[in-house]
Each structure stands twice: as structure tokens, then as C-alpha cells.
């Protein structure tokens, strides 16, 4: 109850922090998508590059988030970006790479060969085939990768409050250092709710962008 009244009394700040959180995650997801999707498409064409790229992304994913912030700090400090939103966005972009690249890669590899052949038979060039056949079929799976990345990034962005990135993690970090229980619970619950809502919204989006033909096939 007191948590609710805390949120109510500090509505402006809570809303601003939520907005900041969404902004960081959204921006990093956008950048990650711009890098990850073309890379995923590219490695379907160069097979022996694929294993290397996926392994590198896997290693990046294995690094604990706070350790990655720590390792990046002195490197970026040379350029004057050690703390704040900049390193947070870079870390989030790096973490998103594995789900995005892996899903793009498997989605395009799993396009039924007869469909690709039909496209070729109609005289499509490779670029045309990619644009008209492979990517539309792969989109739902690519979006599933983005969904995984988004949920994960919301959690990591909460940790990024400790390197001064702002967002809802601020409520948790300040609450812990002040032993202000309502503040901690408000932060933790709001971050969790944000993650659950984004997860659900992406699931809806996934259903929405699935081409009608594929939906029919699944039934």
C-alpha cells in the first residue's frame, strides 16, 4: 500500500524514469536491429563466417552485464564517455546481437527450399528473392529474437543505473542505499511490469506481422 502511495506522490519522477528506461532500451534495440539483421542475412551467404560470428555473439552474451560495464568503462573513458547513457546503450546493443543474429540466421536458413526455388523459377534475382520471399517468411522469427533481446535489455538497463544511465534502476539503487523500502519495491515492481508488458506487446506484434499464408499453413 505504501508502495502505491510512494508511486502516486512521486508520479512525475516515476514517469520520467520509466520514459528514460524505455528510451534507452528502444534506442539500443533499434541500433541492434540495424546491425544485427543485415549481419544475420549476410552470414547465411558466407557459411564459415557464420560460426565465428555466432560464437563471438555467444561470448558477448556470456559476459555478466555489470562486468561488461566495468570493462567498457576505462576504454570509453579515453573518449570521455565512461559513464552515462552512452556506455549503457553500447552494452545493450552488444547483448542484443546474439538473439537477433541467431534468429535471423536460422529463420532465413529454414525458409522452405521449394519456396525459394519457386522464386528462382519466376526469374527473381538474389536480392529480389531476399526481399520478396525470404525476409517476409523470416519476419516472425526475427521478431521473436527482438522480443528476447527487448526483455533482456529491460533487465540490464536497470543495472545500468549504477553507471549513471538513469531509468527505473535509479529507484532501486537509491532505495537500496537509503534503505527506503517503498522506493526499492516500486522500482523492482515497475521494472518487472515493464518487462512483462513489453513481452506481451511483442508477442502480439509477432502474431500481427506473421504473413497470412504462414498462419494458414500452421493450422
Amino acid at each position: 500500500m505504501s508502495t502505491l502511495s510512494f508511486i502516486y506522490e512521486n508520479m512525475d519522477r516515476v514517469l520520467y524514469l520509466t520514459w528514460e528506461h524505455i528510451w534507452i532500451v528502444g534506442l539500443s534495440l533499434l541500433i541492434a536491429m540495424i546491425i544485427g539483421v543485415p549481419l544475420g542475412v549476410l552470414i547465411t551467404k558466407y557459411e564459415n563466417l557464420a560460426q565465428r560470428v555466432l560464437n563471438t555473439a555467444n561470448v558477448l552474451m556470456t559476459i555478466p552485464s555489470i562486468a561488461l560495464f566495468g570493462i567498457m568503462l576505462p576504454i570509453l573513458a579515453f573518449m570521455g564517455f565512461g559513464l552515462g547513457k552512452f556506455p549503457a546503450v553500447i552494452a545493450l546493443v552488444l547483448y542484443s546481437q546474439l538473439p537477433i543474429i541467431r534468429n535471423t540466421y536460422t529463420a532465413i536458413l529454414n525458409v522452405p527450399p521449394e519456396v525459394a526455388d519457386a522464386g528462382k523459377g519466376m526469374g527473381m534475382s538474389q536480392w529480389h528473392l531476399l526481399k520478396e520471399v525470404e525476409i517476409p517468411i523470416a519476419v516472425p522469427i526475427i521478431l521473436a529474437g527482438l522480443r528476447t533481446a527487448a526483455v533482456m535489455n529491460i533487465g540490464i538497463a536497470a543495472i545500468a543505473a549504477y553507471i549513471g544511465a538513469g531509468g527505473l534502476g535509479v529507484l532501486i539503487s537509491q532505495g537500496i542505499s537509503r534503505t527506503y523500502e517503498e522506493m526499492i519495491i516500486a522500482g523492482a515492481v515497475l521494472v518487472s511490469i515493464l518487462a512483462i508488458i513489453v513481452d506481451g506487446a511483442m508477442a502480439l506484434l509477432e502474431r500481427w506481422v506473421t504473413p497470412r499464408g504462414i498462419k494458414v499453413q500452421r493450422k
Binding site: 558466407y46 564459415n48 563466417l49 565465428r52 561470448v59 556470456t62 559476459i63 555478466p64 552485464s65 555489470i66 562486468a67 561488461l68 560495464f69 566495468g70 570493462i71 568503462l73 576505462p74 576504454i75 573513458a77 526483455v151 529491460i154 533487465g155 540490464i156 536497470a158 543495472i159 549504477y162 553507471i163 534502476g169 532501486i172 539503487s173 532505495g175 537500496i176 523500502e181 526499492i184 519495491i185 522500482g187 523492482a188 515492481v189 521494472v191 518487472s192 518487462a195 512483462i196 513481452d199
Partner: protein, 243 residues
């Protein structure tokens, strides 16, 4: 073209390694680690970290596998869908939030941290155990039943060996997340490598921060490849040939 990419990749790795070495020297990390007064402190933090990881992971593995197996038994099968849903909901909750909630209800110290980490690690293990056993081809179980095996032997000799690969994936995910989350457990007073990292960030001592961040990273990578080794040891030969 392919050879070119391979060479670029190798060159990139070597340059990154060199840069890391130069950075370690420049930031004073080498000096800090060789300080006779500092490294017992770092070692004790590493032990604390490993202690929490081992404690929470062993409890989580036992409970997770037991829960996963129980939910595939015919008596509890109808709850599997609901439990799966709850688990996937639980997994969307960020790790920092789980730790923060544990702290606000249970107080500070390593006890609440171990509790929160155990709960958080049970999720992927239980989920993958459930998925692994559910995915065992039914004709195999039928064959075993036809040979007159009792349910206990079917579980031990057919279901678990066939599900082992997926179960190990769950264990690997749980372990890697666990190691990363223990680094955050410092915030609720459980110690561990997070001590060095967070203190290093707060007072801007790069060498201290790296002395925490690099071992945690190595620990996570080693744990990841250790799970790869476990897979070679535990997954039966015939299944590995297929996969």
C-alpha cells in the same frame, strides 16, 4: 573471400588481446594484482562469489530437476501448462528486481541473496527438464513399456538420458545468469566480486574495477565451456551423433 574474412577475424582477435594487455598495464591493474596486501582480499572475494554460486546452483538444480520430473508424471501433467506459463513470466522479471525484492522482504546478507538466486535459477532448469522429457519420442517409451520396464526404470534409462541435452542447456543458462547475478548480490550485502566492481565504479579506481570485472567474466566463460564438457560426458554417444 572466405579466407580473407578469416584472416581479418584472426588479426582482430590478436589486436584486441594486445590492446587488453596494454590496458591492463596502463590502468595499474597488473600492479594492483601483484600487491601482496591486495590479492588475499581479491581471492577472498572470489571465494565468496564461488560459494554463493555453488550453494544456490546446487539447491536450484535439485529442486528444478525434481519439479521438472514431477510435472511430467501423469498425475501432475495437467499442471504443466500453467507452471510453464508462470516460469516464463518469472523469467521476464529482471535479476536486479528479484534481488531487490528479496532484500526488502528478507533483509540484507548472503542468505537472502542465495534464496533469490536459487529461485531465479530454478526457472530455466525446471523449464528445460520439463521440455526435455516432454520431447522424448513416445515410441521409445512405448518400446520400453513393451519390454516390461517399470516407470522408475523408464525414467532413469529412457527419459532422462534422452532429455539430458536439453536439461544441460537449461543448467548452462541458469549457471551463466547466476554468476552474473551474484556480482549484483553485493548490493544487498552478500559480498562477492561485485564488491570490487561497484566500489571501483564509485571511487573511479579503474584497476580495482577491472580486478573485479575480468575474473567474473573469465568465471562465466569457464562455466560456459565447462557445461560444454559436461555435455560430452553426460549425453550418450548415439544422441550426439544424431545432433
Amino acid at each position: 573471400m572466405k579466407l580473407f574474412f578469416g584472416n581479418v577475424y584472426r588479426l582482430f582477435l590478436i589486436i584486441a588481446l594486445l590492446a587488453a594487455g596494454i590496458m591492463a598495464e596502463r590502468t595499474g591493474l597488473v600492479h594492483y594484482l601483484s600487491d601482496p596486501y591486495e590479492y588475499p582480499y581479491i581471492l577472498s572475494r572470489i571465494w565468496e562469489h564461488i560459494y554463493i554460486v555453488v550453494n544456490s546452483m546446487s539447491i536450484a538444480t535439485v529442486i528444478g530437476i525434481a519439479a521438472g520430473i514431477l510435472l511430467t508424471r501423469s498425475r501432475f501433467k495437467r499442471y504443466a501448462g500453467i507452471v510453464m506459463y508462470v516460469i516464463s513470466l518469472g523469467q521476464t522479471i529482471p535479476s536486479l528486481a528479484v534481488l531487490a525484492l528479496a532484500m526488502s522482504f528478507l533483509g540484507i546478507g548472503s542468505g537472502p541473496a542465495v534464496f533469490a538466486l536459487t529461485i531465479y535459477s530454478i526457472l530455466p532448469i525446471a523449464r528445460n527438464t520439463l521440455a526435455g522429457i516432454t520431447n522424448v519420442p513416445p515410441h521409445m517409451i512405448d518400446a520400453a513399456r513393451g519390454m516390461g520396464m517399470p516407470p522408475g526404470r523408464i525414467l532413469l534409462e529412457i527419459e532422462i538420458p534422452n532429455a539430458m541435452k536439453i536439461m544441460l542447456t537449461g543448467f548452462r543458462i541458469a549457471l551463466v545468469i547466476n554468476i552474473g547475478t551474484v556480482a549484483l548480490a553485493y548490493l544487498i550485502g552478500a559480498g562477492g566480486m561485485g564488491d570490487l566492481i561497484f566500489t571501483g565504479i564509485e571511487v573511479m579506481m579503474t584497476h580495482k574495477l577491472l580486478a573485479g570485472a575480468i575474473p567474473v567474466t573469465i568465471m562465466a566463460l569457464v562455466a560456459d565451456s565447462f557445461c560444454g564438457l559436461l555435455e560430452v560426458l553426460l549425453v550418450s554417444k548415439g544422441l550426439r551423433l544424431n545432433g
